[in-house]
Structures are given as C-alpha cells and as structure tokens.
C-alpha cells in the first residue's frame, strides 16, 4: 500500500504530534506514504468563506502535484484538508464550469481523478480492523474510549462518504482492534466549533463542555479523535471548557494514530504524546505487556 501524503499546515505546527504518530503508525503497519512535493495550504474554512474559486483552486494545485508525482491516491490525516480536497474533487467532477475555472486559475489540466482518502478510511477499508488487530502487541484491556468523529469526516455524505454520516463506526472498530472498549455515546458527529476557536472562543468552549460532559457521562476515560481542530479544542482548551462544571476529571484527548501506535508497541515519545496538555500517561500505563517482554514497561 502506497499513497501520496498531504500533511497540511496544522500537522506542521499545532498538530505536529498527529504528523509524527501518523508516520510512525503507518510505518509499523506497512503503509507507505510519500509527501506531495512542495504542497500548499488547502485554504481551509477561510477560503471557502471568502472566495469560492480559491477554495477549489488551492486543493487542485495539490492534487495536480500528486498526479505529476505519479500517484493516483492522496492520503490525509487532517479532517479539514480531507474535506477541502474531497469537496474540490466533487466540484471539478460534477461541474464543467468549476473544472474550467480551476484549470484557468492553476494553468494546468485536472479532471478530479486523484482519489482522496483519510487515514481512518485507509485503516478501516484498505487494511481492515482485523488486520490491524493481528499486529497489536500491547492491547488496552478494559480501557473505555469515546470515538469522536466530528463534522468534517462525516459530512456532507455525498462528498466524504466512507462511513455513516450520523452514526459512524469505523473508529470504534479500530478502538476494538487496539483491545480497548468503545463506549456508546450520542455526540460522535457533533461539532466542536472548529475554526471558530480563535474568533469565537466562547462558542468553542460551550461546545467543548457539552462534548466532554457527555463523554464522561457515557463512562469514557479518554476521547480519540482524527482531526487537529477537535484535538486542539478539546485538549488545549479543556481547562476553559470545563469551567463552571466542577466535577469533570481531566479527560485525555488523543489521536487514533497515537492509540494504535501505543497498542502496536511504539513508545510514547515516538508518537508525540508529550504535546498533549492533558497527559496521556495514565493511558499508556494501562497497556498490557507484550508476550515475551520482561515487564515494567509503561
């Protein structure tokens, strides 16, 4: 399995741990990824809120680069990049005007033919949860996990479409593969406020509070995510989000790539766990010792 990799701006800065853990986990699972040479920003929410032509053209530049490098599939870890790249493909494929416009702006041909995949999609549909489970050496027996998909991986279904838009389960299956227990909770695809984090922090904290409270009520000891914005809003802003709700404990919010990486026997440092605000040390301490190991490993 070989894919062109589009890291995106978040994975170069605020989510460097998502970048590190994705690369380490892919290597451990035999998924080969090669960075798109000289990739550029996908434009994210600011582009689609301000200039519709730009919101298609920026992703198209990256997809053209992947194609020129000989790839037919692009892998992303960031949910926002994933949604923007998928949306651009959808528009180019379904509207000749959109395609002409994107080709005029980028001065290069593009037919929407490079497939865009998210790491969850590749883990679940290409590799398979069973295959992942076979390679787990250090499972997490009894660890209760809330899988949080957020909006951009689930919606809109005609664009993203690799799981159910209202009740996705692929991340729960991967949590099971890691030997942990996914909890049933109703806010799997609720929004965290995403890019409003900076301009409307009060909204993001209100939504974060709802999500953390519900995950805790459902019995989750941690939340797993696959989006840099979900992670930042729930982990980095957790103390603010919990204000006024005295009884909530600290809830670690980790990337699915970090959970799987730990269960594959990788060390916390190889997965960037030190970047978390709410420490995941209590979680890493819960993993079972692999057969043949002498113990004492945490």
């Amino acid at each position: 399995m070989k894919y062109a990799f589009f890291p995106g701006c978040s994975l170069e800065s605020t989510a460097w741990d998502f970048d590190k853990s994705t690369r380490a986990m892919c290597q451990a699972l035999g998924i080969e990824i090669v960075d798109i040479p000289d990739w550029v920003c996908c434009g994210s929410t600011p582009a689609h809120s301000s200039n519709a032509s730009l919101a298609v053209a920026l992703p198209v530049v990256n997809l053209q680069k992947a194609k020129a490098a000989g790839f037919s599939e692009v892998l992303t870890a960031c949910a926002s990049c994933y949604a923007r790249l998928r949306t651009a493909n959808h528009k180019v494929q379904h509207s000749p005007q959109e395609r002409d416009r994107a080709e005029r702006i980028t001065e290069a041909a593009y037919d929407g033919g490079v497939k865009v995949r998210h790491i969850l999609d590749v883990l679940f549909n290409d590799l398979g949860a069973q295959e992942v489970a076979k390679r787990i050496t250090n499972p997490f027996p009894g660890l209760r996990v809330a899988s949080y998909y957020g909006c951009l991986l689930s919606r809109p279904p005609e664009v993203v479409a690799f799981d159910d838009p209202e009740h996705p389960t692929c991340m729960d299956e991967l949590v099971k593969a890691a030997g942990a227990e996914p909890v049933d909770w109703p806010y799997k695809t609720e929004c965290c406020g995403a890019s409003l984090s900076i301009s409307k922090t009060e909204t993001v904290n209100r939504l974060g509070n709802r999500l953390l409270t519900m995950a805790h009520r459902a019995g989750a000891e941690c939340i797993v995510v696959a989006c840099p914005l979900c992670q930042l809003n729930l982990d980095f802003r957790q103390a603010e989000a919990k204000k006024g709700q005295g009884n909530l404990p600290d809830i670690p919010v980790i990337y699915i790539t970090q959970l799987l990486g730990l269960a594959l026997g990788l060390e916390p440092g190889a997965l960037g766990l030190e970047a978390l605000t709410i420490s995941a040390a209590p979680l890493s301490a819960r993993r079972a010792v692999a057969a043949g190991q002498t113990g004492g490993r945490s």
Partner: protein, 186 residues
Amino acid sequence: MNDTLQWTDASLVREVERRSGTPASACFQCHKCSSGCPVAPDMDLMSSQIMRLVHLGAKDEILESEAIWACASCEACSTRCPMGIDVAAVMDALRMMAVERKAEVADARATSFNKAFLTSVRWHGRVFELGMMTLYKLTSRDLFADMDKVPRMLAKRKLAFLPHFSKSAKLVRKVFQRAQEEEKKR
C-alpha cells in the same frame, strides 16, 4: 392597518442560488437545520429564519446579522435538509456578499481571522501561525485573548518561530490573483 409585505425583492434569492449553486428557494421552513445546529444558541437569526429572509429579499437584515459569522460550517444542516439544500453553502455565499458590500460586518473578528489566515497562505504558500496570529491581533484589536496560552503553545512546540515556506509560494500568489479575477466575473 397596513398588511403590505415589508420585503418583496426576489433578486436576493436568485443571487444566493447562483453563488451557492444550491436551490435555496426550495426551503419549506421545516426548521430541521435550526434544530440540529450546534451554534444556534449563539445566533441572532437561526438558519431556517435566514432561509426565509433570503426568500423575502431582506438583504440588510441578513448581511448585517451575526448569525452568518457564528456558523461553524459543520454541515449538519446541509446533511439533514429534506430538500437537499446545502445550507452551509448559502452561509458561505452570504458571508462573501457581506464582505463585498464593504459595509461594517457584525463580527469583525471572524473577517479579520479569515483575512489574516489567507494573507499568511498568500505569502508563504502555507499557514505561518505566529505571523497569522500577530496579524489577526493587530487587525481585530482583540489583543489580549489567548495571550496566556502562548507559553504553553511554545512549550508544546505548537508554534514555530519561522514560517515553513512552500517552494510553490510563487504559484500560490498567482492562484490568489487569478481567483480574485475569477470571482469578479461571476
């Protein structure tokens, strides 16, 4: 008693449909979009009310509202609309129209953020967070919010001091220029 409709301008719904590419006129006010909207409590007008005002042509009421800036683009509305209306795309179109008419927008912080983000991309080809945040703080005058978090950001290596330049930054500047020209043609 005067029963005359205050707004009767159909040009707004036509413009919104053209720019968003979605049939906004098909809305029959079931309010499903508003019921599932995570930011509805922060809105002065809920999404279904915006849709109705679009039909009526209440341009000022909509473009001056806070609601269009409170939308987080989570697309729950677009996914659930029984008429297949991409409500989030309507919100995008309204935000662009609000900025284009150059009057004061209800939430200047949101437009400052968008501008700072895109300026950073235009300069470097990628987002340079520290530069983007500095520009945002200066333009929004929202100087002190989140400043307490900067040390933690630096300690966790989440903020780089220098930008990551894409070698395609030059191409990106051209893409920005041409995209602006294309938008004027619409």
